[in-house]
């Protein structure tokens, strides 16, 4: 008989993997892995601030990650520094500031290891419900704006010339990513959120013939990684977050070897 907490963990993981699929593909297509990092790392600061001011934790995380995502988006457009440099600066500063804030702010009690690497085995029914609502929201918004998102990925000039809105694209992309970070922290922790986004997508790329198929394959690989990772975590008594990413990287290698 499988224990309840394993079923809950797998449910939460599968939902997160589904929401990660379109976002992960967009991050890979736009070469924005560092952007995912910067947004993810900001979550630690959000968490520390929310705890210190006795606010709902998820609210703190979403506000700070969204602020980070928007700041980075508009900072990279100014063009003083290369996008790569800006993202590196923000990503590492966010992590360091978060760690400092967690240490010095009064009233912050968090298990750093769980925050950084996730602890899906302790997910509660209420949390699963919120993860489900968040995932449904992300998938719905991405579906509504899918054509804009794809056109903006191809060429922002083509998008604007054809009457599309670059602002819609930026807002949808950054805000869905912020929500995704908030809901997937529990699964893989803030250090591995980018990995959860890009590994399944990168694994799916060589076997995909259209953007939509790549999203579907990414979802399948993500779900299999979550299942395999949680099983591995249970059997070998290791943290689930890293185990999930190890499984995803196994799929990445496998699909690239078979492709050749």
């Amino acid at each position: 008989m499988i224990d309840d907490f394993l079923i809950r963990a797998i449910m939460a993981g599968v939902i997160i993997a589904l929401a990660a699929a379109p976002l992960g593909c967009l991050v890979v297509w736009r070469r924005m892995a560092y952007f995912g990092d910067a947004t993810g790392h900001a979550a630690l600061l959000g968490l520390a601030l929310a705890m210190s001011f006795s606010m709902p934790l998820m609210l703190g995380v979403i506000v700070i990650t969204a602020a980070m995502a928007l700041t980075v988006t508009f900072a990279t457009q100014r063009g003083t520094y290369a996008a790569d440099t800006i993202l590196g600066v923000f990503s590492h500063s966010a992590l360091a500031v978060g760690l400092v804030a967690a240490a010095v702010l009064p009233g912050v009690r968090l298990n750093l290891l769980d925050t950084l690497l996730g602890n899906i085995l302790t997910v509660s029914n209420t949390e699963i419900m919120w993860i489900g609502v968040g995932a449904a929201g992300i998938l719905l918004v991405v579906k509504l704006f899918w054509r804009t998102l794809l056109n903006a990925t191809l060429s922002s000039e083509l998008l604007v010339a054809e009457g599309g809105s670059l602002l819609h694209d930026r807002l949808v992309f950054t805000l869905t990513l912020a929500f995704f970070v908030a809901m997937s922290m529990k699964l893989v922790g803030i250090l591995l959120i980018t990995a959860m986004l890009i590994l399944p997508a990168a694994a799916a790329a060589p076997i995909s013939r259209s953007p939509e198929r790549m999203v579907v394959f990414t979802a399948i690989i993500g779900v299999l990684s979550v299942g395999g990772g949680i099983w591995l975590s249970w059997e070998a008594d290791i943290q689930a977050g890293p185990a999930i990413i190890v499984t995803a990287s196994f799929f990445f290698v496998l699909l690239n070897v078979f492709r050749r």
Partner: protein, 239 residues
């Protein structure tokens, strides 16, 4: 006639540099206008302002309400990891009818490319696919940024024949950046010679006799060597 786009005293600055200064012109339905000028003259800046990705520092760009623009960029920077078949790319213009997409692709001499991956196309094939996408929107105005690069001579001739055909059918206006002076003189109703400001503009035969044109491109249209001269004559002085 109501202009499709009306540009008044358009100036665009980037930092200390003036990229475009006091640009004035209208584009009206069914005309073919070519934009020529040396490197760094602001041609791409002007195109970006027209399609709306660059905001004027001063001056105005008025578009007719409901104006539909078809645009072909010079090139697309495509990410290898994004699987994008040509037909899917065309559908992203908003045309959901497969038969219409196939017809347009065939018309643009690219029928056999419908299942090819965008990342595998040659420069000339890419231009044909971009044109198909631009035309599929049934635009009022087609903006082409060096559309014939990568096309061989027969390909280029067919490209212009198709443009003329579509213009005759739909009253479409064409605004095109080109380096090929010979073609510019043969295919345009109006030529705008740009070097930060508009040096001269008008019918091809008028422009080719203009001293500022001759300063930039030499005296024999179509045979002139391309010059990157930034020495300006009296008539082409913009500071």
């Amino acid at each position: 006639m109501i202009p499709l786009i009306s540009i008044n005293n358009l100036t665009i600055k980037k930092g200390q540099r003036t990229l475009l200064q006091d640009i004035n012109f209208d584009l009206v339905p069914n005309e073919a206008v070519s934009l020529i000028g040396p490197n760094g003259a602001g041609k791409t800046t002007l195109i970006r302002a027209l399609i709306g990705t660059l905001k004027p520092s001063s001056g105005t760009i008025r578009r007719k309400t409901g104006l539909k623009i078809g645009y072909t960029p010079q090139k697309l920077l495509l990410e290898q990891l994004m699987p994008m078949p040509v037909d899917r790319f065309l559908a992203l213009s908003g045309e959901s009818n497969l038969a219409k997409r196939r017809d347009m692709l065939a018309r643009c001499d690219a029928g056999k490319l419908k299942n090819a991956r965008m990342t595998d196309l040659s420069g000339g094939e890419m231009q044909r696919v971009l044109l198909a996408r631009a035309l599929m929107r049934k635009p009022d105005l087609l903006i082409l940024d060096e559309p014939t690069q990568g096309l061989d001579q027969p390909g280029e001739a067919r490209f212009y024949a198709l443009l003329n055909e579509v213009r005759a059918e739909s009253g479409l206006a064409v605004f095109m950046v080109s380096h090929d002076l010979h073609v510019v003189m043969a295919e345009s109703d109006r030529v705008i010679c740009l070097n930060t400001h508009i040096c001269c503009s008008g019918a091809p035969e008028t422009v080719s006799k203009d001293p500022s044109y001759q300063e930039l491109f030499g005296t024999r249209p179509g045979l002139a060597l391309y010059q990157h001269s930034h020495v300006h004559s009296e008539t082409c002085n913009h500071d």
